[in-house]
């Protein structure tokens, strides 16, 4: 009879493990614990002066929140795309270069170093949104209506995106001298928290509202699980797949805008390099099946923060940025192996065996 308590304990534990958000939370906890043991000053937050002389918050945690913003915004779109089409968009990095290039083209005109901006920032942002959504729509049409594998369809933009970005600005690297453009990627005067954090939070709130008050989440999951049966139930799977790619385009526009605003300029071949891999990793780390179907947006977002946390932790230990991927890969493999269904089943049965062995002993 003493076995009863242990089984409820075990049930609770199993429930926690089965929860999808458990994977990113566990990863985050491990990272936090590791940093606490290695160097508690990692978590210190203090006031420092930024380049304009304003007092702003500084510290590793702030850097993580700040730098993860683009990734978080991308992860939102990538989760939807993954859920609906069962594939990933590998062109987001190139599309960020493209949308950033559009912003600079609108603001600078054809001059490389204009004294004043040629258009209000909001106009540039809106045009960049439209362009990025058009490119998202291009991917969407290929995936939804031509029924291509998402990776193949987005391979086109992946190859051409950065070239088109350079072509938009005649291969020049325009620089914007107006400080007000840099506010969106750095700090608004008087606010000590980096503005990308706010933009990311706004995007999260909008996503939460959209998922709460529209049927987008339900429909994308239905299409992802079984596109044919969702069609028989009166949905339009093609249109839903298409719309998720357009939404990803919007996310790309926002991240591209933040990226160029950070530096007030652009480097076509380096900007947002490999970010598509990080965005896909965020989705996978969040425990979402990359083959589509059910998704958990909060997990993906947390996954994006975990990746940035890992990056900053590695920087902290003087890992050169070019060697960073090797360490990242080890972490990814460990996480992926632990969350593999086969391994989880094995672990679960091992736990059960241990528990049953224990109860038998107690019964004796």
């Amino acid at each position: 009879m003493s076995g009863k308590k242990s089984t409820t304990d075990q049930n609770f534990f199993m429930k926690l493990i089965r929860k999808q958000i458990f994977i990113p939370i566990a990863a985050l906890l491990i990272l936090i614990l590791f940093n606490l043991i290695a160097d508690p000053s990692f978590f210190k937050i203090y006031f420092g002066n930024n380049s304009n002389g304003d007092p702003v918050l500084k510290g590793n945690l702030i850097t993580i929140l700040d730098n993860a913003s683009e990734l978080v915004i991308l992860a939102i779109g990538m989760t939807l795309v993954t859920a609906s089409s069962g594939g990933q968009d590998i062109s987001v990095g190139a599309a960020i270069a493209l949308s950033g290039s559009v912003v600079l083209r609108v603001l600078c005109g054809t001059e490389a170093r204009p004294e004043t901006m040629h258009a209000p920032i909001i106009v540039a942002f809106l045009i960049c949104c439209i362009v990025a959504m058009l490119f998202g729509a291009f991917n969407g049409v290929l995936v939804a209506y031509f029924k291509l594998q998402p990776m193949v369809a987005t391979l086109i933009l992946f190859t051409a995106g950065r070239s088109i970005a350079a072509w938009i600005n005649n291969n020049q690297l325009p620089i914007i001298s107006d400080p007000s453009f840099g506010y969106f990627g750095n700090f608004f005067p008087g606010i000590p928290i980096p503005s990308p954090v706010f933009i990311a939070v706004i995007c999260m709130i909008i996503t939460a509202l959209v998922l709460r008050f529209t049927k987008l989440g339900l429909f994308t999951q239905a299409v992802g699980i079984n596109s044919e049966s969702s069609r028989l139930n009166g949905l339009n799977p093609q249109f839903i797949k298409f719309i998720t790619y357009v939404i990803l385009g919007l996310c790309v526009a926002v991240s591209g805008f933040i990226k160029v605003s950070r530096l007030s300029t652009i480097n076509y071949s380096v900007i947002a390099k490999d970010i598509e891999m990080d965005a896909i990793l965020a989705v996978a780390l969040g425990g979402n099946a990359l083959s589509g179907g059910k998704f958990n947006m909060a997990s993906s977002i947390l996954g994006a923060y975990v990746i940035q946390f890992l990056t900053i932790t590695l920087y902290k230990f003087d890992v050169p940025s070019s060697a960073l991927p090797a360490y990242k890969a080890v972490v990814v493999i460990v996480l992926v192996v632990l969350s593999a269904p086969v391994v989880r089943e094995k672990l679960g049965s091992l736990k059960k065996n241990l528990a049953s062995g224990k109860t038998e002993k107690e019964a004796h």
């Binding site: 990933q88 290929l142 031509f146 029924k147 291509l148 594998q149 990776m151 193949v152 369809a153 391979l155 086109i156 933009l157 992946f158 190859t159 051409a160 950065r162 070239s163 088109i164 350079a166 072509w167 291969n171 891999m277 896909i280 990793l281 996978a284 990359l290 083959s291 050169p320 070019s322 060697a323 960073l324 991927p325 090797a326 360490y327 990242k328 890969a329 080890v330 990814v332 493999i333 992926v336 192996v337 593999a340 269904p341 086969v342 391994v343």
Partner: protein, 338 residues
């Protein structure tokens, strides 16, 4: 009727690929002339892309089973760097370098294959991690580019196989025979062996079966997990061989070697008629995919648009064209079935 039926499968895509390549190359010879008329320029395409051909063959195998391996480019780079360090700093010889190349490739293939086939992890994630790991390890082994000066290796690198009777006359009227490097022989042998393997061997046919429908393959008595495992293992070994061939051509180790080779390999496979959905594809097509890809690059640069940007845009347009052809062919096939 019978020939029509034979053509509806991947053979049709193969015919399209080969004819597009021929049209493109003949067009270049007729309208651009210049370098394209010399046999050596064709041999140079082979020389430069021998490694890519080998890597693409591995990629095609994996794509036929319905998976993907994006680590191949990074493995190539790692192999180059390790071989270069072994030859220049560690005093190794060519033989140990070949062993190192094969060892690295096999190791990546074994681990990735095990994770994908037996632990059911998604191929994209596993090989993504493999790519990250290999790229990072390359810079950890050595972070700068350097040329290898080992004499034995230089002899191997500069070894040329002259093609008898083929060549061109230079301005003085002397005959210069065309040549290929050793890597080309390795690449063509790889293509031949894999072609036979895919066509007439049980394991090779198994790749098509599990790519088409892994459940029915299982019911037919094919060991799906083992077959999948071997696909990734072979792809890893080919990446190792490809790495050494790349090293023989480049003669240096550098972290930026073969960057983007995985995407070129995927593009070549797609152009060659291999479907990412699995179950269909052809190694000969992959060979022509690589050739088409580099021919169009050469055409673009000889048109005077000598800009990396333009090359990328044309390559993307070409992938787009082939994808559309594939989807049209597929939808036509599906219609005729119903």
């Amino acid at each position: 009727m019978k020939t029509r039926k034979k053509l509806t499968d991947s053979n049709l895509l193969l015919v399209i690929t080969i004819s597009v390549f021929l049209v493109m190359y003949l067009g270049a010879v007729l309208f651009l002339g210049g370098g394209f008329t010399k046999p050596q320029s064709f041999c140079n395409i082979l020389n430069e892309n021998a490694a890519l051909i080998i890597i693409s063959c591995g990629m095609s195998l994996v794509m036929i089973t319905g998976g993907i391996d994006i680590s191949v480019g990074a493995v190539t780079s790692l192999v180059c760097m390790c071989c270069a360090v072994n030859l220049d700093f560690k005093g190794g010889n060519v033989f140990t370098s070949i062993l190192i190349a094969l060892g690295i490739g096999t190791l990546f293939g074994l681990i990735q294959g095990f994770l994908i086939a037996y632990l059911d992890v998604q191929p994209f994630i596993v090989t993504l991690a493999g790519m990250f790991f290999a790229r990072g390890m390359t810079t950890i082994v050595n972070s700068t580019q350097f040329n290898v000066e080992n004499e034995e290796f230089q002899a191997l690198k500069n070894a040329r196989i002259l093609l008898p009777g083929i060549g061109s006359y230079n301005k003085k009227g002397t005959f210069i025979p065309a040549y290929v490097e050793i890597g080309v022989v390795v690449a063509l042998l790889t293509v031949l062996i894999l072609f036979v393997f895919l066509k007439w061997f049980k394991l090779g046919r198994g790749f098509y079966a599990i790519g088409g429908n892994s459940q029915s393959a299982n019911m037919l008595g094919i060991n799906v997990k083992r077959t999948k495992f071997f696909a990734y293992l072979i792809c890893g070994i080919l990446a190792g061989i490809g790495g050494f061939v790349y090293f023989m051509h480049a003669g240096s180790g550098s972290p930026s070697h073969a960057s983007g080779a995985e995407m070129n390999a995927i593009a070549s496979s797609i152009i060659g008629g291999t479907m990412l959905t699995g179950g269909s594809g052809n190694i000969i097509g992959t060979l022509f995919g690589v050739l088409s890809l580099s021919t169009i690059k050469n055409i673009v640069s000889s048109l005077g648009l000598d800009d990396a940007w333009w090359t990328n845009i044309t390559v993307a347009a070409m992938i787009c064209l082939f994808i559309v052809i594939q989807s049209v062919v597929l939808s036509g096939k599906n219609k005729s079935h119903h």
